[in-house]
Symmetry: C2
Subunit: 463 residues, 2 copies
Amino acid sequence: MDEAAGRLQQYLEARRETFIRELLEWLAIPSVSVLPEHRSDCNRAAEWIARRMRAAGMQAELVPSGLPGAHPLVLGRYDASPGRPTVLFYGHYDVQPPDPLAEWRTPPFHPSIVGQDVVARGASDNKGQIWALICAARAMIAVDGRLPVNLRVLVEGEEESGGRSVAWMVQRYPERLRANTVWMADGPLFSRQIPALYTGTRGMVYAEIAVRGARTDLHSGMYGGVAPNPLVALAHILSRLRPWIGQVDLPGFYDAVRAPSDEEAAQWKSLPFDEAAFQEEMGVSAMPGEPGFSALERVWARPTFEVHGIRGGFTGDGAKTVIPAIASAKVSMRLVPDQDPRQVAESLRSRVLALCPTGVSAEVSILQADPPVQLPIHHPMLRAGAEALEEAFGREPALARMGRTLPALVAISQGLGIPVVMTGFGLPDDRLHAPNEKFHLPNFQRGILATMAFLRRIGATGQ
Amino acid sequence: MDEAAGRLQQYLEARRETFIRELLEWLAIPSVSVLPEHRSDCNRAAEWIARRMRAAGMQAELVPSGLPGAHPLVLGRYDASPGRPTVLFYGHYDVQPPDPLAEWRTPPFHPSIVGQDVVARGASDNKGQIWALICAARAMIAVDGRLPVNLRVLVEGEEESGGRSVAWMVQRYPERLRANTVWMADGPLFSRQIPALYTGTRGMVYAEIAVRGARTDLHSGMYGGVAPNPLVALAHILSRLRPWIGQVDLPGFYDAVRAPSDEEAAQWKSLPFDEAAFQEEMGVSAMPGEPGFSALERVWARPTFEVHGIRGGFTGDGAKTVIPAIASAKVSMRLVPDQDPRQVAESLRSRVLALCPTGVSAEVSILQADPPVQLPIHHPMLRAGAEALEEAFGREPALARMGRTLPALVAISQGLGIPVVMTGFGLPDDRLHAPNEKFHLPNFQRGILATMAFLRRIGATGQ
C-alpha cells in the first residue's frame, strides 16, 4: 500500500462513525417526493446534502426545476483542472412512501442500526448509496487535497415520483452536466458476494385502458344481463393481450427485440442463479408467461405486459351490485432494445380498439413512454468501472441488466450521450419500496472504496 | 259513489296536505342504515312511523332485532275481528346513502316539492310508498271507524343494508306476522301509465373470487414477466365464466331454469316495451350477453353473471408498477326459478378452481345466496290485488317480474308461506339509489286508493 492509500484508509477509519451518524441525520428527513405534505421535507433533504457537499469542498446549489410542482435539483461541482476528465455522480434524495407503516419494526424515519445494517426508508434507495459517493469525494479532497478528476454531482428529488426534472435539466442546461462519464449506484449487487455492472435497463410504456358502457352506473338487478359491463369487457381485452402462458399478443411487439450479445448471454449462463430458489423467494409454484427463456433472460431481455390495477364499480366490503358506467385498467409493458415506445404505444392503442367488444367503447391513455437503455459495455469508462468494483469488492462484477426503467438514466445517457457506469451497493434483499428497508454498512464502506478507485482510474486516463 | 266512499274521498281531500307535510317530516330523518353514524337516525325514523301508526289507531312497537348490530323492526297491529282475514303490510324505513352529494339539486334530507314530485332520499324507496299504505289504513279507520281486515304491519330498517332481521323475525316470531296475504309496494309501475303486479324476483349468489400469487407485492421492473399476476389470472377466469356474447359458462347453470308460463310470456310480448328506447336510455349501442331472448326476458327470466369490482394492486392516479400478491373480484349471479343458490355457489366454486391457471391459487367466498321467488299469479289474493290496482290506476296491471333480489320477500313469502301481492307506486325514472330521488305525488294518492281498494276486497272475502 502506498502512503497516499494508507492516509486515505486512516481517514476513513477515523471518520467511519461520523459518516454513518450523518447518514442517519439525512435519513431522518422524510423526503417522500410523491406526497405533497412532504414538500418542505424534500427541500430540507436537498439543502442537507448541498450543505454537506459544500463542507466537503465542492460548490453546491439547489436548482429549482422549470417544471410545475417539481422538487429542486441539487447540483454540485468540483474543478480540479481543465485538462482532467470530468465525472458526473447521479443519485436521488427522495424516498418512497413508508406504507404500510404497521409493518415496520422500527419507525421508518427514526433510523436505527440493527446488526450491520442501517434500517430506514431510503437507507439503500438511494440516500445510503449516493452518500457513499459523496463521502468518497470528500475523503479524497480531505486527504489528497484535491480530486483526480473534475466532478459534477446531480442529486434529484423525483426519482420515486416519476418526475421529469432531470430530463428538463439535460435539455435546458446540458453544459452544467457535461462529463466524460457518469458514475451512479442505485441498485443491488448481483448477489451478496458478486457486484454488478449494469449494462442496460428496460424501457416502459405505462397506459390506462378505459372502457365505457352505459351513461351511468346501473343496478345489476334491473340491468344485469343486458347492460354491457365494462369490467367484463376489460377481462376479455386483458386476457387476450396477455395469454397466461405465451407471448404478449400485440402485433409486431417482438419484431425489434434484439437478443443479448453472445458475451452477455454467456455471462448470464455462467452466473450463479437458482431458479428454484427464486421461485421460493417469491413464494410461487410456477412462473407463467413467455416460454423458452430462463428467468434472468425474461426479466432482463424480454418484453412483458403486466396489469397493475383495475378501477371501477365497487370494491368495498360487502355486496354492492353495481354495473359501472366506466372501468379502467392500469397496464405496463417493459421494453428491451431495440423496441420503440412510441410504436408499442401505437400498437397497444390499435389492438385494444380492435379487441373492444360490441356495446362498449375503449380509450387508451399513455401515462409514460421511456425507451430501453443499452450501455456500451466495451467502453473504456465501463471497463474502468468494472476494475474499480473488482478492487473494492474482491470479485469481478457480473454484467447484469436491470429489469426496471430509469427515466433519469434515459435522459442522461441518451440526452447527454455519455457512457454511464451504473452499479449498486445494496443487497438483493434490501426491501426497497417495502417496510424495513435496510442498507448493509460494510457495503457502504465498499461503495466508498469503489468510488475512490473509479475516480483514480478515470483521473489516470487524463494524465 | 256510495256514501262511505264519498266520505273517504272527502277525508283524503281534507288531509292531502297533512299527509304530504308529515311525509316530508319523515324524509328529513337521514335513516341511512348502512352508515353507523346514522344509527340514531334509523331509530328516530322507526320511532316516527310507530308513533304515526299509533296515532292512526293501530298498536305499534319497536322490536329489537336479535341479530348483532341490527336496526329495530317496527311492528304494527290492528285487530278488526278474529273472523276477518289478515293482511300484512311490508315496507322499510331505511334509505340508501345520498352520495354523490354534489349532484343533488336540493339537499337529500331537506325534502322539497318540485312540481308534482317530492324530492328527497327515500321519497320513493320506500318511505313515500309505505306511507301511502299507512295513510290508507288511517283513512279507513278514521272514516269507517274500523278496518275491513285485521292488519299486521312490518316496517324494517335494513332493506338497503343487506340486513337479515326480517328473516330472523320470521323464524323467531312467525305468529306475529301470520296473515292471509301480504301487500307491499316497493318498486315502480311498469310504465308511467301501467301499474305492475310483480309475479317474481330473481335470486342472487354474490361471491368474491380471490386469487393469490407471490407472497408479497412485487415490483414489475424486477419481477415482471416471471411473477404470476393475480389480476391477469382474474381476467382469464372472468372472461371464461362470462363470454361477451353467449351463455354463462358454469356447468349445469341453465339446467333448472324454468321458462315463463305461456300466460306470462304472452303478457310480456303484449307489453309496450321499446328495446331501442331502452338502449338509448342506458346510452349504449348494443346489449351483449345471452342471445335469443328479448330484453324483458333477459332481465326478468334469465340468469346472469356480472362483475362488480376488482380489488388489488394500484388504482390511484399515476403510474405505479406493482404486481399484487392478491387480487379479488366481486361477482354476482342473478337466479331465476328453479335455480338453487347452493348448487350455483358450488358450481361457481368448482369452476373457478378448474379455471385457475398455474402458479396462482383461487378461493371463492359466498357473501350472499338468496333463491328466486315466484309468486302464485292465479291465487285469489293476487287477483284481488290486480283488481285493486286497476280500480286505482284505471289500467289493468302488467304481470311483470323484478330483476332484483329482495331477501325480505324470500323470508316472508317462503318463510311464512303466504301469497304476497307485490306492487309499486313509483315511476320508472324515480332515481332510486341515485341523486335527486323523487316520488310523484299523484301516485301517492293512487297508492292510497289502491291500498284501500285492496283491503276492502280482502275484507269482502271474509264476510
